[in-house]
Amino acid sequence: MPLPPLPDTAVVLGAVVSTWREALERTGEALVASGAATEAYTQAMIDLVDEHGPYIVISPGLAFAHARPGPTVRRDGLAVVTLREPVVFGHPHNDPVSVVLGLAVAEVGAHLESIGEIANTFNDPTVTGRLAAASTPDEVRAILGVPA
């Protein structure tokens, strides 16, 4: 199974946030709620953007939030947070963001299969918009082809 499961606890639909930082906090909370990561992982995701800028907005409307593998990750996990109102990350081309895909990976190397699956899924340019419009976790899982 290439992508980690996506339990209901890891899905937040229509989150109300006003900054990119809050969007990443909601995503980190979802990874904590599903048991994939500790709270320190949330801060690590935010730190990466503070350090390097909004590069995690890798395609129009989508932020791919993650940090490095390590002790802040409990097990591989995925989270999806959709935003009621899109927020600006400061990216020159791909703002505003309406969907945050969170990923926690326990160890380097093993994650490449998941990354490949994410690429295969999101190379379809309709996926981000469909996720943004999803109204149930089941819908999100169907779009991504992942189990609960």
């Binding site: 890798i58 395609s59 129009p60 993650h66 380097v108």
Partner: protein
Amino acid sequence: MKIVTICGAGIGSSGILKVNAEKALESLGLSAAVVAADVASVRAAADDANVILTSAEFVEAIGDTYAEVIVIRNHFDQGEITAAVDRALGEH
């Protein structure tokens, strides 16, 4: 030939670029090693690279290099990535 993909952690967006660069090579009938790395290790990872694929945010940190540095805007746009790889490594 060698392509290095660069991002902040070396696992996320550079991983996406690696996967899609490998697809681009296959569709173009080209062969190259593709390595994902974080920007902190770009010196070691890319000293023998022909091409670096990355986001605009890392161009300054990558600095002087013999490799051709190409900024990818949409990491999921296979057309954009294939065109970049073709421009850099294809026979013209």
